[in-house]
């Protein structure tokens, strides 16, 4: 069974539900504290940086955690091809550490800037819709999504706007398909502005990968949508219909929710890597 480390940094608050979502797809999840010897991390096959407020978001969200020896070790393992998923605050850590998009290795090339939307600012907590595009990260993080599938997921962030001041980086993210997940409307049309694009991100990006496709900085919270019971009963679209149809049917409510496919995709990738490793 593939093993996934969930990195617990002071201030994160989603590590337990993230570990449960990982376990739900047949992977072994272990919460690893930030101050355990970094060498422990090398024993794992993949890494998830969960959401929360690492170091209370002091200085800037993700800025302090990005300097941890544990993150340094995860960066080294990512260079060897191991998958790394950063969810919300975990995404901010990956961006601040330069792991995403990694066009020029070791360089910080983007930011997760404060949300930008007409007549509202600050923290935003709501459900959004995203779609997986074609790109190098699809095989690792979105193989479970059908082409064009619209996935509803919750967001909860104040600094979720992918942004770069470097036009070359912007062009490369677009041309190389690194904006793996983009915000869309519930019917799959381009998000346009708020509310379907909740924060004004470049390319309407909800998740950006590195060039190799094994590291994803993802702002929505798939672990908060990993079971059908977590879907709001009034959510538009097919997932809302499934949720309404499951009222009173506890077995159905315990079935997978839309966020599960991120973890299923990761599990499939790790399984295929294991098979290839066994063959090799």
């Amino acid at each position: 069974m593939a093993r996934v480390a969930v990195l617990q940094i002071p201030g994160v608050n989603c590590e337990y539900e993230t570990a449960r979502a990982i376990a739900s797809v047949g992977l072994e999840a272990r919460i690893v504290r930030w101050n355990e010897p970094a060498s422990v991390l090398s024993e794992f096959d993949a890494y998830v940086l969960p959401g929360g407020f690492a170091f209370q978001d002091r200085i800037r969200a993700g800025a302090v955690a990005a300097k941890l020896p544990a993150v340094e070790r995860i960066a080294a393992e990512a260079e060897r091809g191991k998958p790394v998923l950063g969810i919300c605050n975990g995404a901010q850590v990956l961006v601040e550490s330069g792991l995403v998009p990694g066009i020029h290795p070791g360089r910080v090339e983007i930011a997760l800037a404060p949300n930008h939307a007409p007549r509202r600012e600050g923290y935003l907590c709501r459900w959004v819709w995203v779609r997986a595009e074609e790109g190098p990260g699809r095989a690792t993080f979105a193989s479970g999504a059908a082409k064009g599938e619209v996935i509803p997921l919750p967001i909860a962030h104040g600094e979720g706007r992918f942004q770069t001041a470097d036009p070359e980086v912007h062009a490369r993210i677009e041309s190389a398909g690194l904006a793996l997940f983009r915000y869309v409307s519930p019917d799959g049309a381009p998000a346009g502005r708020y509310p379907f694009d909740p924060n004004g991100a470049m390319l309407h990006a909800a998740g950006i990968t590195n060039l190799r496709g094994n590291v994803l900085a993802f702002m929505p919270h798939p672990e908060r949508a990993a079971w059908l019971r977590m879907v709001p009963i009034d959510l538009p679209g097919t997932w809302g219909e499934r949720r309404r149809a499951a009222v009173g049917r506890f077995d159905a409510l315990e079935g997978p929710g839309p966020g599960r496919l991120i973890f299923e995709s990761l599990a499939r990738k790790l399984e295929s890597a294991s098979v290839e490793g066994a063959r090799g």
Binding site: Q56, I59, R107, A111, A165, E168
Partner: protein, 199 residues
């Protein structure tokens, strides 16, 4: 000339303390970081062709008696009118600074409107926000080693370089000595300088 309000925490600033702890680990050998102080900079920009003297007195009163800008339970402030401010901004004794602003418009129009609703002021064009980090550093030669410390602690370039400013949504001005306020005003009012990738 604009009027300026500087606001800082008078309780322990845990963000500055964290910057001190994190920053020390980024410095090159032989360098030390002794203290970090963080202040909000709020610039009151007058209408073109006028000065802040038209609204300085009632603004000083508004700052003192309203809670728009300062929470007196935890913050202290200095309101600098044109006369007090002078032409030059001098860093605190022994310190140098990094002034950081958003790459986007620095105006806080919501704050201006709230202020004007309760304190009608004539000639206030905009309220602009930024923050300044004051740093007390020392290099191997005993001097402040501003250049090497600014490279280590200032603009974020990579995992091991830079901390306080992410250049993809912020711009920074290093205050390595007395700085003309006109240059500071220009930095806060004009569009942010273009990003230059590290070599």
């Amino acid at each position: 000339m604009s009027a300026v309000l500087m606001v800082r925490l008078k309780i322990t600033d845990l963000t500055a303390w964290t910057a001190l702890e994190a920053g020390r680990k980024l410095l090159p050998p032989g360098h030390t970081l002794e203290r970090v102080l963080r202040e909000q900079v709020i610039l009151f920009e007058p209408e073109p062709g006028t000065g802040a003297d038209a609204f300085e007195a009632p603004l000083a009163d508004a700052v003192k008696h309203s809670n728009f800008f300062v929470n007196p339970n935890k913050e202290s402030y200095r309101f600098l009118n044109a006369a007090e401010r002078g032409e030059i901004w001098t860093p605190p004794q022994g310190a140098w600074g990094i002034l950081a602003r958003a790459r986007e418009d620095t105006r806080d129009e919501g704050l201006r409107q709230r202020l004007l609703r309760e304190h009608p002021l004539q000639g206030l064009r905009a309220i602009r926000r930024a923050k300044v980090w004051w740093l007390w550093t020392r290099g191997p030669d005993g001097g402040p080693a501003v250049e090497s410390c600014a490279r280590a602690l200032g603009i974020l370039e990579g995992r091991r370089q830079g901390l306080l400013v992410n250049p993809h949504f912020e711009a920074a001005l290093v205050l390595d000595g007395p700085m003309p306020w006109s240059r500071v005003e220009s930095f806060l009012i004009q569009p942010a300088p273009a990003y230059r990738a590290a070599a």
